[in-house]
Symmetry: C2
Subunit: 184 residues, 2 copies
Amino acid sequence: MAQRKLSSLELALLGLIAQAPRSGYELCRIFETSPMMHYSASPGAIYPALKRLDRRGLLLGQVERSDALRPVRTYRISDTGRDAIVSWVSLPIKRDDLIWRSDELMLRFAFMGQHVDLEATSRFLTELVEVIDAYVSELEAHHRGMPEGGSPHGRLALEQGLDSYRSMAAWARRALGRLGNVAN
Amino acid sequence: MAQRKLSSLELALLGLIAQAPRSGYELCRIFETSPMMHYSASPGAIYPALKRLDRRGLLLGQVERSDALRPVRTYRISDTGRDAIVSWVSLPIKRDDLIWRSDELMLRFAFMGQHVDLEATSRFLTELVEVIDAYVSELEAHHRGMPEGGSPHGRLALEQGLDSYRSMAAWARRALGRLGNVAN
DNA sequence: AATTTCATGTAACCAGTTACATGATTCA
DNA sequence: TGAATCATGTAACTGGTTACATGAAATT
C-alpha cells in the first residue's frame, strides 16, 4: 500500500495504455507527434518507465509474435492499473497541484472521461475553479503590494501569470457548462 | 566557451543575485514566499546550484563577518555572470522554448528590464507573439482534425491549452503597447 | 527554558536527457 | 544498394527531491 507516487510520465503512459494496448514504440510516436503531450518523452525515459509500471503490476507487457524476427512488446492495462488511474483522477485538487503540477491536472482531466462518470468530472472542474480563484486572489494581493517605480517587467510578468490562471478558470466554467448540457 | 546550459534554477538564482547580493538563505526565503517563482527551490537544490555557479565564475561568493559566530556566505554577480544573463535574455525564441520552457521565457522577461534596453524587450515580445501565433495555428489544425464522437474530454483539454497560449499572446501585445507608451 | 527562526549544508535516491547500440524491414 | 523507418533498449551524467544534521540567535 501507499506506493511511491507515479511520475507524470508514468501517469501519461498509464492513461494512454488504458485507452488501448500499445507498444513502447507507438507511445514514443504519440509523444513525438501529439501536441497535447507536454509530458516529455525520449525512448530513454519511456522504456524504463514502462518496465517500472510492469514490475509494479500496473501494466501487463507481453511480447507478441515472438516467432517473428522483429518482436513487439505490447502493454495492456491491468486491473490494479485501472484502479490506480481511477484513484488518481479522483484525487482532490490542492493549491500545490495548481502551482507545480498544472500539466498533470490537465492530463487527469483528459483521461477522466473513460474512467469516471460525468458527475466526477464536474466535481473536478468545480474544485478547479475554486482552487484557481483562491490562488488568483493571492496573486492579486501580491500584485497590489508591488512597488510602483522602476521597470515594469516584474509587474508585467506577474500579470501574465494572473491572466493565464484567469483564462484557465474561465475555461473550466465553460467546460462545466458544456458538460451540463450533455448531461441534461 | 559553449559552456553547458544553465538550468532554470541556476538562471533564476543568477537573475536574483544580479538584482542585489544575496545569501543562500535569503534566496531560499524568496523562493518560498514569492508567488512568481515557479522555479522550485529546496535548500538541497539551491546550495549546490550556488556552488556550481561560483565554480564557473558566474557568481562571487564570500563569507561575510567571518569573525561572528554565525557567518553568512553572500553571493554577488560577476562580470561573466552579467554577460551570461545578457546573452541569455537576448536569445531568439524557438517553438520548443514555448512548449517546454515557457516558465523560463517569463523569467527572462522579468529579468530583462535590468540588463537590456526597451528595444530589446519589444523585440522579445514581438518574437513571442509570432512564435505563439504559429503554435496556436498548429494546435488549431490539430483541433479541427480531432474525432467528433466519444467523450469531449480530450477536445476540451486541447482547448484549454489553446486558451492559455492565446491569453499569453494577448498579454504580450498589451505589454508591447504599454512599453511603447513609456518609450515615446 | 523551550521553541522558532536564522543559516548552511550533506547524502541517498530517482527520473529524465543525451547519446549510443543493434538489427530487421520497407521504400526509393 | 542504400536510406529511412520500425522497434527495443542501455549507460553515463545531471539535477532535483526528501530528509537529515548542526548549531547560533531571537522570541515567547
